[in-house]
C-alpha cells in the first residue's frame, strides 16, 4: 500500500483560537492509483496536501499518523521530513507558474537542487531531456531564465522537476484551474502519463473541478468543511454517489448539453460552516435535507462496499438508499 493516512487532524492557530481545518482524516491511496481530492473552497483539501508536504506554523499537527510505503512520515519535524521531500513525496504547487526563481537559469536551479540531494546532474541529464520532450518543452529551456517562458511552459518545467527523482507519491495542487481548456487537457494527460511511465507510484490530484477528475482520476475523495464525506471510484461517485452532499454537488454541475430552458439545475442552499468553532457531529447537518438527530454525532468514515467509503448515518439507520 503506497500511502496510509490515519486520523490526521491539523488545525490553524489564529488569534481567535484554532481553526479546525482538517478533522480525523483516514484513507489510503494504493500503488498506481490516481486519487482525486475535491471539495468547495475552505473544505480542507489544501490543508491536507500542505500537511503532507510542508507542515509549518500557523499549521499544527494535532493528531494522526501518515505512512508512506510502510515508513512513518515525521510530518511535524521539518528537518527530518526534508529527506523525504522530493525523493519520496513531491508536489506540483498551485503557484507553479512562479515557483522558479526568476533570476536563475532553469538548468542551474535543477542542478543545485539535485546537488543538495546528493544527485549528480550529469547522470540525470539524459532522463531530464527525455522528460522535457514528453511535456513538449525544448531542451534549450535549461539555458533560459524563467522570465523568458510563458506561464504554461513554466508550469510544465515545474512538473518535470517535481517528479525528476521518481517520488513514490506526487501531490498536484489545483494545477489545472488557471489553465485554458486546451492546455488543461494536455496537462491532465501528462499527469496520467507520469503514473503510466512509473515516474510516480501514486498521485493525489487536488481540484474543485470534478469534471477534470472524471477524465483522469481512478478514485475521488470528496471533502466538506474539514471532514471526509465520501470516497469511491470515479464512476461510482459520478453515477451513484451515496453522501447527500456529493449527490447535490454533482447535480449542480452544468454539463455540456444541458440547457437552462430545458432543465433548471439547482445549487445547495446555505454556506459551509466557519471552522473556528464548527458544529458538532456531521458538519453538513445544517444544509442536509435528510439530517436527523443521529447526525449530532460524527459519522464514521466506513467502507459500505469494496472501495466505497461514506461518512453518513443514513447508511446505517434508515433504509439504505434514500
Amino acid at each position: 500500500m503506497s500511502l496510509q493516512v490515519e486520523n490526521l487532524t491539523v488545525y490553524y492557530q489564529t488569534l481567535r483560537g484554532d481553526v479546525q481545518a482538517l478533522e480525523k482524516a483516514t484513507f489510503a491511496v494504493a500503488d498506481g492509483e490516481i486519487m482525486g481530492l475535491a471539495g468547495e473552497s475552505g473544505c480542507g483539501k489544501s490543508t491536507l496536501a500542505n500537511s503532507l508536504i510542508r507542515l509549518v506554523p500557523p499549521m499544527r499537527l494535532v493528531a494522526g499518523q501518515v505512512r508512506l510505503d510502510g515508513e512513518l512520515l515525521p510530518l511535524d519535524d521539518a528537518k527530518r521530513m526534508s529527506e523525504y521531500r522530493f525523493t519520496k513525496i513531491s508536489v506540483i504547487p498551485q503557484y507553479a507558474m512562479n515557483a522558479l526563481n526568476p533570476t536563475r537559469k532553469i538548468g542551474k536551479i535543477i542542478a543545485e537542487l539535485l546537488q543538495s540531494k546528493g544527485v549528480d546532474f550529469a547522470t540525470i541529464l539524459p532522463e531530464l531531456k527525455r522528460r522535457l520532450d514528453l511535456v513538449e518543452l525544448s531542451h534549450d529551456v535549461l539555458g533560459m531564465y524563467p522570465i523568458e517562458l510563458s506561464g504554461g511552459m513554466k508550469q510544465r518545467a515545474v512538473m518535470v522537476l517535481s517528479v525528476l527523482l521518481n517520488p513514490s507519491l506526487l501531490i498536484a495542487d489545483e494545477i489545472t484551474s488557471a489553465l485554458d481548456v486546451s492546455t488543461q487537457k494536455a496537462v491532465a494527460e501528462m499527469l496520467v502519463g507520469f503514473r503510466d511511465r512509473e515516474f510516480v507510484r501514486s498521485l493525489i490530484v487536488i481540484t474543485h473541478d470534478i469534471s477534470i477528475l472524471y477524465q483522469m482520476a481512478d478514485s475521488i475523495l470528496i471533502m466538506y468543511a474539514g471532514q471526509l464525506a465520501e470516497k469511491a471510484s470515479t464512476d461510482v461517485i459520478i453515477r451513484a454517489p451515496r453522501h447527500p452532499y456529493t449527490r447535490l454537488l454533482i447535480a449542480s454541475l452544468p454539463k455540456v448539453g444541458v440547457r437552462y430552458a430545458e432543465r433548471r439545475l439547482s445549487g445547495i442552499p446555505g454556506r459551509p460552516p466557519l471552522l473556528l468553532d464548527p458544529p458538532a457531529g456531521c458538519r453538513f447537518r445544517d444544509r442536509c435535507s435528510m439530517a436527523f438527530e443521529k447526525c449530532m454525532e460524527v459519522p464514521p468514515f466506513v467502507e459500505i462496499e469494496a472501495g466505497h467509503f461514506v461518512a453518513c448515518w443514513k447508511e446505517f439507520g434508515a433504509d439504505a438508499d434514500a
Binding site: 509549518v56 504547487p93 515557483a99 543545485e112 510563458s150
Partner: protein, 330 residues
C-alpha cells in the same frame, strides 16, 4: 536591454541639463547682486567701487543679455573654464576643485562600497533568526537615524580628544608635505579613518534594515516555498533569497548617492577634511558664487556618472532587465 539603458541615459542627460540650468539660474535669480556684495566687502570709496563694478561685471560676463550669458556659461563648461574664484582670486575654479576631488573620492568610495557590502551581509545575517532580529536590528535603526555630523563630532571627541588615538583635522599631519613615504601614508590613513567611520556607520545601518526587510519578503516568495517543499537545505533557499534581495539594494544605492554626498559634505566640515564639502563651506562663508557653482557642477557630474555605472552593473546582474517581459499578456 538597449531600451532600458537608453531610457536611463535620457533621464541622466535631462537631469544634467536641468541641474546645470538651476546652477546657472541661482546667482542670477537670488535677491541682491553677487558683484555688489563682493565689492561691498572690499570697503572701497565710492568712485573706485563704480570702476571696479564695471570691470567685474565685464570680467564675469554679466553685462551681456541673459540668454547670451546662458550660452557663454554652457560653452565655458565644455572648455572646462568655470570662471575664477573670488575668494582665492587669481586661481581658476576648476583647479581648486580638482585639488579637492581626490580626497573626496578617497573618502567616499571606500565608505560607500564597504558600508553597502557590510550592511547587506549583516541585514541578511540578522534576518536569520528572531533573537538576532530583535537585538541587532534596532541598532540599525538608531545608526541610520543619526545625523552624520553628530556621529562625526562624537567620534572626533571620543577618539580624538579623550583618547587621542586619531587626529581630528585635516587630511595629513600639518608638518608633512605630500610625498611618497610610509610616514606620510600612515598619517593620511590616520586622518582618513574617523571621517570614513562616521559615514560608514550611518549608511551601514540603513543598508542592514533595507536588506532585512527585502530578504523576509523574498523568503515569503513562491519560489522559496517551492524549494522548501522540495526539501532544499536552508542554505540554498537563503542564497537564492539573498541574491534576489540584493537587486533592489543596487538601485537603492544609485538613488541614495545624493544623500550620501550630502552626508560626506558635512562630515568633511567636521573634520575639516579638504574635500569638496569643506571647499563649499569656505565658498559659502566667503560668498564665492563661482566656486559654489563649480563645486555643485562637480557633485552633479559625479553623482550622474556613479548612477550610470550602477545602472550598468544592475543590467549585468539582473537578467529581467536584459530580457524584458517575455510572458504572454492576459
Amino acid at each position: 536591454m538597449r531600451r532600458y539603458l537608453g531610457r536611463k541615459l535620457l533621464i541622466y542627460v535631462l537631469t544634467f541639463f536641468l541641474a546645470v540650468t538651476i546652477d546657472w539660474l541661482i546667482p542670477r535669480f537670488m535677491p541682491g547682486d553677487p558683484v555688489q556684495t563682493m565689492l561691498s566687502r572690499a570697503s572701497l570709496h565710492a568712485e573706485a567701487v563704480e570702476v571696479m563694478y564695471g570691470y567685474y561685471t565685464r570680467a564675469f560676463g554679466l553685462d551681456v543679455p541673459v540668454w547670451q550669458q546662458y550660452l557663454n556659461f554652457w560653452n565655458a563648461i565644455f572648455h572646462g573654464d568655470l570662471g575664477t574664484s573670488v575668494y582665492l582670486f587669481p586661481q581658476p575654479v576648476i583647479k581648486i576643485i580638482l585639488r579637492a576631488v581626490p580626497y573626496d573620492v578617497f573618502l567616499l568610495l571606500p565608505a560607500v562600497l564597504l558600508s553597502w557590502f557590510a550592511g547587506n551581509w549583516f541585514g541578511a545575517f540578522a534576518a536569520r533568526n528572531k533573537w538576532l532580529d530583535n537585538t541587532l536590528l534596532p541598532l540599525g535603526y538608531i545608526l541610520t537615524a543619526t545625523p552624520y555630523m553628530w556621529l562625526g563630532i562624537v567620534l572626533a571627541w571620543a577618539f580624538g580628544v579623550v583618547w587621542g588615538i586619531f587626529p581630528i583635522a585635516g587630511a595629513y599631519g600639518f608638518s608633512l608635505r605630500p610625498h611618497l613615504s610610509w610616514t606620510f601614508i600612515g598619517s593620511v590613513l590616520k586622518h582618513w579613518f574617523l571621517p570614513f567611520a562616521s559615514i560608514f556607520l550611518v549608511k551601514f545601518g540603513g543598508w542592514a534594515i533595507g536588506m532585512r526587510n527585502m530578504i523576509i519578503y523574498e523568503l515569503e516568495a513562491d519560489y522559496s516555498h517551492y524549494l522548501e517543499a522540495l526539501g532544499a537545505p536552508r542554505g540554498l533557499i537563503r542564497k537564492y533569497a539573498f541574491r534576489n534581495a540584493i537587486l533592489p539594494q543596487i538601485t537603492g544605492l544609485s538613488l541614495d548617492l545624493g544623500v550620501i554626498v550630502a552626508g560626506a559634505l558635512v562630515t568633511e566640515v567636521v573634520f575639516s577634511y579638504p574635500g569638496i564639502g569643506y571647499l563649499i563651506l569656505q565658498a559659502i562663508q566667503n560668498q564665492d558664487y563661482f566656486l559654489i557653482q563649480g563645486c555643485f557642477l562637480f557633485i552633479i557630474i559625479g553623482v550622474l556618472l556613479a548612477n550610470f555605472a550602477i545602472d550598468i552593473a544592475y543590467v549585468i546582474v539582473d537578467p529581467r532587465t536584459r530580457l524584458g517581459m517575455m510572458g504572454e499578456s492576459a
